[in-house]
Symmetry: C2
Subunit: 410 residues, 2 copies
């Protein structure tokens, strides 16, 4: 069961003018499930993306980067399959990714380098090209309006539910644009550019280089701040789409509506990124790790991730056991060599646990226990070294995480 993550309500998801969605059951890995999604974009659309930093990045990630560069962001279609990641597949993997783009281009009437391919699923296996082609035909014939819920379902792997969010961009009391987005991912989640996979679209017009900068900035504040297991995927991708089919036109940060549109994109991205953790493999708790008083961003992140990745911290949260010395240990081995532990304060929600390198004199284990039992918990560490703060979202480590990952392929 995900942590405080309601199922998306189909009636709240907004169609985005200039964007059509088609899905198919292509039997990529197993028959019967919706496992392929095609997104067709209006000729006015601009697209930006950020991708995994994993050196074993998947063939489709390499093709996406090449096609975005070649087309200057003038993308006409996105193809996504689940069941096979097309990663660790060498030269044949690249040929398969390119060939799937050519097939989409042929059916939709655009150039192959205007198609972006995405894959998720098992690594080290090749795409079943015959079934993929049949799925593309089926999805192309189903293109219409924009059923975001079907789209979200078609890209799931170990996710227990689809993840989709919409927002209206308000300016001067009226709605000037819409934003809708979907994401997937529950394990192999420690995005280091973006996560596998997030797609966010608006009907506004956004100038290409601005869209690209926003994409990086938003990824850094949202998808790059979540971790389930510290495993950075080979296929992480976040894509921002501006179809240009609506009335709002943005060329610069100072334009009317730019701040409002960016805020809506950020809000949707935050919800989608947090949804990955709330639906994290085996998660029973949603944990916010907030670091304050750091000297710079690097040390703030190092300490936040050291806590968020510690198997001992994560199992203690699973057990609701206030064995909070494990958090101090994780702070201590984060690699900040001149850290003076005598300056550190540790809070669990409103409970002051540690101060001056040791247990706070007023701390009572019953107070720690009370906080540990809730499903949303904030670990706050105040370093007393400088002005920088950062936040990372993570989940606990449970028996179900082991079960899910010991049985994933079977």
């Amino acid at each position: 069961m995900p942590v405080n993550l309601p199922l998306p309500d189909r009636s709240t998801l907004l169609a985005i003018p200039g964007l059509r969605i088609g899905t198919a059951r292509a039997a990529i890995r197993k028959p019967g499930r919706r496992d392929l999604m095609l997104m067709a974009l209006a000729p006015t659309a601009t697209v930006a993306g950020v991708f995994t930093t994993n050196r074993f990045c998947a063939a489709p990630v390499r093709v996406c980067q090449a096609h975005l560069a070649a087309s200057g962001g003038a993308i006409r279609a996105l193809l996504v399959n689940t069941g096979c990641a097309n990663a660790g597949t060498g030269a044949q993997g690249l040929a398969n990714a390119r060939s799937s783009c050519a097939e989409v281009a042929r059916q939709l009437g655009c150039r192959a380098d205007q198609v972006l391919p995405f894959s998720t699923g098992v690594i080290l296996e090749h795409l079943p090209m015959d079934r993929l082609s049949a799925g593309i035909t089926s999805a192309a014939s189903a293109l219409d309006g924009s059923d975001w819920l079907d789209a979200a379902e078609a890209i799931m792997t170990t996710d227990t539910q689809p993840k989709a969010v919409s927002a209206q961009v308000q300016l001067g009391g009226r709605s000037v644009a819409s934003v809708s987005g979907i994401s997937k991912g529950a394990g192999m989640i420690r995005p280091n550019m973006a996560t596998m996979l997030g797609f966010i679209a608006t009907d506004a017009t956004v100038e290409a280089s601005l869209l690209s900068r926003w994409c990086t900035e938003i990824a850094d504040q949202t998808f790059n701040r979540v971790t389930v297991d510290g495993d950075t995927s080979t296929n992480d991708s976040l894509v921002l789409i501006a179809t240009g089919a609506g009335g709002l036109r943005i060329a610069a940060d100072a334009d009317p509506g730019a701040a409002e549109l960016r805020a809506s994109l950020l809000s949707v991205a935050t919800d989608l990124a947090q949804a990955l953790v709330r639906d994290g493999e085996g998660a029973t708790k949603f944990i916010t790790v907030a670091i304050e008083g750091a000297r710079d961003r690097d040390e703030a992140s190092a300490i936040a991730y050291s806590i968020a990745h510690s198997p001992l911290v994560k199992t203690a949260f699973f057990a609701s056991d206030p064995n909070l010395g494990r958090i101090l240990a994780a702070i201590g081995y984060a690699g900040v060599d001149d850290l003076d532990v005598d300056d550190i304060d540790l809070y669990l929600d409103d409970v002051h646990v540690a101060t001056r390198g040791g247990r706070h004199p007023d701390y009572r284990e019953a107070d720690g226990q009370r906080v540990m039992k809730s499903s949303e918990i904030t670990i706050r560490v105040v370093l007393g070294r400088g002005p920088v703060a950062t936040t990372v979202w993570t989940c606990d480590l449970s028996h179900d995480y082991v079960s899910i990952n010991a049985d994933y392929r079977s």
Copy 2:
């Protein structure tokens, strides 16, 4: 059940002249178990130690470092308790550690700065000083010969069995010295100087600065090469003791018997370090991660630990599931920015799994499956970048790891 780790045979453990051991049931955390160990050394003894790099290092670690510096290694006693780590305990923790040394000194007739204190157990709690003092008295009255098995038992926490090893140093066909050692640790194991706790003693005489250098070199090849969960403890300590009560006298690396003694110390340390992993919390497999062809030691270690810490790799080994793309993903996110995956070869024991960035054409899943089912497995990664190799030992991640750490304090 530990992985291929027989119970130490009391009859094979060698007494070390110049060293006496006493243990006690001091009820530090729970009544009834052997939880305190006192080691008394001859006036000829020299001692060297390496300690955790965790910034939240425990009070006893700080006191050990100060006493080793003050006494120049002329240590007369070691005091070890389990049940309480005396870490995250601030100024009172330091005072308690110093006061326990003073108590030992009073009873044994030496200076307080000739006593090294060690603690292991729960973090953020204070030592029960009254019970500790009573335990010291009891252990001091029991000092005799050297029962290494009792000593190994007295320092255990979540270990399922005591860890003790001995070796004879042979020179010119006869035995010139003895080496015995003990270690403990099963979780919070990713030593970054040494592990909590290892004690190795010989009756040879070894010049102090040489003993100190050997201690660092041996820690680096043994205890610094194992990881269970990536959590570097607050209390890691490795201590090398040369009692000087035997006939072998070593002042320099070139002295007769120096190479043989060093090899015996290294062999005992390797067995004790591997024992931590074989008895790792919940471990069902012993995994050797061997990296070859690295450009330097840093990148070899980064890739080895990236594999050894990946929860996805570790759960796949637990399940005997050859989902080996997870290993490629872990190599890819290890942070080696210019890594060319097309040059990488991956082997599982004798099975060639991946080459040139993708699946090896001859690789069959049945072969991977066969290797995954064994209890001792070597992951070999050949990078093709340079001459440097390194090895890290780790274990899988099982349901029992979660159970043990969710229930540790209860």
